[in-house]
């Protein structure tokens, strides 16, 4: 687990990374039912290109929370919505959330407390280290889908450092300016 905090906001951000998860469909069902034990953001690793992408979306959702301006029902769904470049909430949850077949995802819990006061037994999978290094996440990305969702232009399979920085910046622009 990685715990972070943004200086401007009082909340703690706990980030877990899971792989080889076997019960995604069960998790999804409970999310739809609104089960309180599943109050986390489940994010498909396949669309997380970089740490700054993820953090930028969390930053925006915390900003909306602290401005009393949430557009979705809670902070966790807001994170998924903030990752999306378009204003359609359902579409955002579909793209960035988990599907029945998702076996690798990132779980985020926004908490007022420093201590961990929840358990993740609901997930039948293996918890691994959340990579803090920017370029580590790219390995797991479905680049084609990323290009499509963020409208990144002509698809390029092999990315050099400059491409990575540019894509990263385009994604941050989209996240920060969505709906504005």
């Amino acid at each position: 687990m990685t715990q972070i905090k943004f200086p401007q906001f009082p909340q703690f951000i706990n980030i877990h990374r899971f792989t080889n998860v076997l019960n995604s469909s069960e998790i999804k069902e409970n999310l739809i039912k609104g089960n309180k034990d599943y109050d986390f953001a489940f994010i498909n690793t396949k669309l997380i290109f970089s740490q700054s992408q993820l953090y930028s979306a969390i930053y925006r959702s915390l900003l909306e929370l602290n401005n009393n301006n949430l557009r979705t029902k809670n902070i966790h769904s807001e994170i998924l919505f903030c990752l999306s470049p378009i204003n359609n909430i359902m579409e955002a949850l579909k793209n960035f959330g988990i599907q029945n077949s998702t076996f690798d995802f990132i779980v985020i819990k926004i908490s007022d407390n420093l201590e961990i006061d929840y358990n993740l037994n609901i997930i039948n999978g293996e918890e691994i280290k959340f990579e803090q290094i920017n370029n580590e996440l790219i390995k797991f990305v479905d680049l084609k889908k990323l290009y499509k969702i963020y409208k990144l232009g002509t698809f390029k399979e092999v990315l050099n450092n400059e491409d990575i920085l540019l894509i990263n910046q385009k994604i941050i622009n989209s996240i920060q300016l969505r709906g504005q």
């Binding site: 700054s52 401005n67 920085l165 385009k170």
Partner: protein, 259 residues
């Protein structure tokens, strides 16, 4: 007055250590070493560990609702221009980090370095170093720099964007001597030759008053750089802009209100 503005800004930027860089009529610029959401151990797009916060304070003389709308609108439109510039590889501009449009806050990448006299490396300060020393003020290096700046403006105009406030202090030189355009607060999208000509005219006047000793050469080199990016079919476009520029020079920035 400015103390209350700073207090106001700090209430929206809790736990962020800021220092004032400059203040204009519309906004106040802060600098900080704290990234809003990335831990300091991670290097961002550039290696710089400084960030710029542009804060548009509420204007108490305006009606509250109107003021909030204007602030929000202006913050967003500036951010949108920065977004567009990300897609234009030829134009160097700071990248966007975060926006809090409700509170009029824009986070951007920090550009530039400290000159020998501790001033920021804006074109103005950079050129002022050579004041009163003709052997330094008119070197090839200065010429190359001004041409590079001219090219930046040319590329901006080619993409139908106008800056709106071109002055030598709104151009920043980076350590690897690339020219960056900053402050897109008055910037907009426009296909009109008039707007582009006015942009050039504003720059000419700014150079004339900020660098009067060498303004003739400086303006000449800027315009050379500007013209050099228009090639082939675009040359007709350039001619039209330059023709309009001559007109604007005769009458000034504002069109006659008579008739």
């Amino acid at each position: 007055m400015s103390d209350t503005i700073i207090e106001n800004a700090k209430s929206h930027l809790r736990n962020i250590q800021v220092t004032v860089v400059s203040q204009g009529a519309e906004a106040i610029i802060f600098q900080t070493t704290q990234h809003p959401y990335l831990p300091s151990s991670i290097s961002t797009s550039s290696e710089s560990l400084k960030f710029i916060i542009k804060y548009r304070p509420p204007k108490t003389y305006r009606h509250r609702t109107l003021d909030q709308q204007l602030t929000k609108h202006r913050t967003i439109s500036e951010a949108r221009i920065l977004q567009k510039l990300t897609n234009i590889a030829e134009v160097n501009a700071p990248s966007l980090i975060a926006i809090d449009s409700r509170n009029g806050i824009l986070w951007m990448e920090h550009i530039g370095y400290e000159l020998a006299n501790k001033d920021i490396s804006s074109l103005k300060n950079w050129l002022w170093q050579f004041n009163h020393d003709e052997s330094k003020a008119l070197t090839n290096e200065v010429q190359d720099t001004l041409r590079a700046v001219g090219r930046q403006i040319g590329e901006l105009h080619k993409n139908d964007l106008v800056h709106g406030d071109l002055t030598s202090s709104n151009i920043i030189l980076s350590e690897n001597s690339k020219a960056f355009l900053i402050d897109f607060g008055l910037s907009s999208q426009s296909t009109l030759n008039e707007d582009k000509a006015v942009d050039l005219y504003v720059l000419e006047r700014a150079i004339l008053s900020t660098h009067p000793l060498y303004s003739y050469e400086y303006n000449k080199w800027l315009l050379e750089g500007y013209s050099s990016v228009f090639s082939g079919k675009q040359e007709t476009k350039l001619k039209e802009i330059l023709r309009r520029y001559e007109d604007v020079r005769l009458r000034g920035r504002k069109r006659s209100m008579l008739g």
